[in-house]
Amino acid sequence: MTEHVEDVGILASCAGEVLAPQDAMLALENLTTHYGPVQALNDVSLAVGKGEIVTLIGANGAGKTTLLMSICGDPRPTSGRVWFEGEEITGTPTARVMRGGLSVVPEGRRIFTGMTVEENLAMGGYYQTREENERSIEHVLDLFPRLRERFNQRGGTMSGGEQQMLAIGRALMSRPRLLLLDEPSLGLAPIVIGQIFDIVEQLREQGTTIFLVEQNAHRALSIADRGYVLEHGHVVLADSGKALLANDDVRRAYLGG
């Protein structure tokens, strides 16, 4: 499965129509990113349509996290272009990108452990007015009733699952139109993983577009409209979630036979 699939129809959605980068919610065009001298991404192109759940699967070290963070501008891609809602955001400073309607739940959650649940959430909606902020917090608490119980507790004292909910809740505070998720299932108990994926589907129903990076390929492909497979920093397969679940190569490499 290491041979490159030529022209995987990167901008093709599953219905067969081709999306121009300007028409997609998110599009990466020939993106290459280096960490120092190490090339982490090699000529990656992909697209996420409005309202889709698109997943990116791949082994540890394939470059999934780098790809996700390159969208946020941290690290900055060496070459190639990133489009968000028809506008090019390549090279835009991270903070500015993140104010423009997309949010990220980064690898390792990175909640502010010394701050309470309330303060963590408030940071997610930093640029809102007080009323907007309160309304967003209420919205997140409705989504995660568990966070309501922990409202005044410090983030660092909560369980992994609760911290993951907090990280997602914080990302939702700014009412993003596109949510980037980096391995939300990592290190969580199966029952909690189930809850998290339920929430992701629920978010999509509410109109949020989802780009999901996962090692848990089975779960991810089950809820995804489409998926991309990343190997050694390169997209080697792109298809609908169902088709990838049934693909022999994918089954062998990522689904344990």
């Binding site: 903070a95 949010s103 980064p106 990175r110 502010f112 452990t113 940071m123 997610g124």
Partner: protein, 306 residues
């Protein structure tokens, strides 16, 4: 009885100096907390604050204004504003361009800035000692016949102003929106940026707050000692740095505690041993804390961020 009163006197003197150390130490600790570097030009900001106090009081005095509280208020306002401008500029000129490079480079830049400011002040104001006239003399005395404890009005003002600044800062950091962003940045600046927060602005603000507090300390100590020269920033800066490390660098309550402890330790050394040993004890303390508890009294052991 006499011994107790004598001890009390030393503690009062120690807390006076200690509170100003604490004010300066907060600037070190906040900057360290947010960008992980020691701002060695911070003592110079304090020195500039003292000079501005001297200039404002002298100038207004020449205009015939004599109300000590008006003079002090005016000096405070101008000193804080001028120092804030310096604090902001120092970060912009000396630190922001080298942010992200090796720690040693930022350190050298900081020391360079410190030398520059010291010599710039020496050129502008001369290297002689300048006297700041004593605006608020007198005080209370209490005790027994053979020994009386002195508590000067100026000391009470120092406690009061310091306490006020600390309360203001604590409220700001724990309750306000900007204060919260400040804490978030010092915990994980990269994450704050991923939430859309302009971390450069937060860093600038940290420098400005530190400079404002250093200016307050400069005014208080300037009026307390009545002298200023271009070199006072060096020792005061080192002492406040020691206080910050003692309390746990990166921790604001730690800087407050460290400052007070250091002041009292110095005063007790002066009172029972000899004033000449004051600095020996202060920096001896720094060495001990670095050897046995590098994270300081209230600091958390450093965890390497991945």
């Amino acid at each position: 009885m006499e011994e107790i009163l004598y001890f009390l006197q030393q503690v009062i003197n120690g807390l006076t100096i200690g509170s100003t150390y604490a004010l300066i130490a907060i600037g070190y600790t906040m900057v360290y907390g947010i960008i992980g570097m020691i701002n060695f030009a911070h003592g110079e900001i304090y020195m500039i604050g003292t000079y501005v106090t001297f200039i404002v009081i002298s100038a207004l005095g020449m205009l015939g204004i004599a109300n000590p509280f008006f003079l002090m208020g005016a000096a405070l306002l101008v000193a804080v504003l001028v120092s804030c401008a310096y604090g902001f500029a120092v970060e912009r000129v000396a630190y922001r361009p080298v942010r992200g490079s090796k720690r040693l480079i930022a350190l050298i830049s900081a020391i360079g800035m410190s030398i520059f400011l010291q010599n710039y002040m020496r050129l502008a104001q001369g290297s002689r000692d300048m006297a700041i006239s004593s605006l608020i003399p007198g005080g209370w005395e209490f005790g027994i016949e053979s020994f009386a404890v002195n508590l000067s009005y100026m000391q009470v003002i120092i406690f009061g102003v310091t306490l006020g600044c600390m309360l203001l800062l604590s409220t700001f950091i724990s309750r306000s929106r900007l204060g919260r962003a400040c804490r978030a940045c010092s915990q994980d600046a990269g994450m704050a940026r991923l939430l859309g927060i302009n971390t450069d602005m937060i860093i600038s603000m940290t420098f400005v707050i530190g400079a404002a507090l250093a200016a307050v300390a400069g005014l208080l100590l300037g009026m307390y000692y009545g002298v200023v020269n271009p070199y006072i920033g060096f020792l005061a800066g080192l002492k406040a740095f020691t206080a910050a490390v003692l309390g746990g660098i990166g921790s604001i309550p730690g800087a407050m505690l460290g400052g007070l402890l250091l002041g009292v330790a110095e005063a007790l050394t002066g009172g029972y041993l000899s004033t000449e040993y004051k600095d020996v004890v202060a920096f001896g303390l720094l060495i001990l804390i670095l050897l046995f508890r590098p994270s300081g009294i209230l600091g958390k052991p450093e965890v390497e961020k991945i």
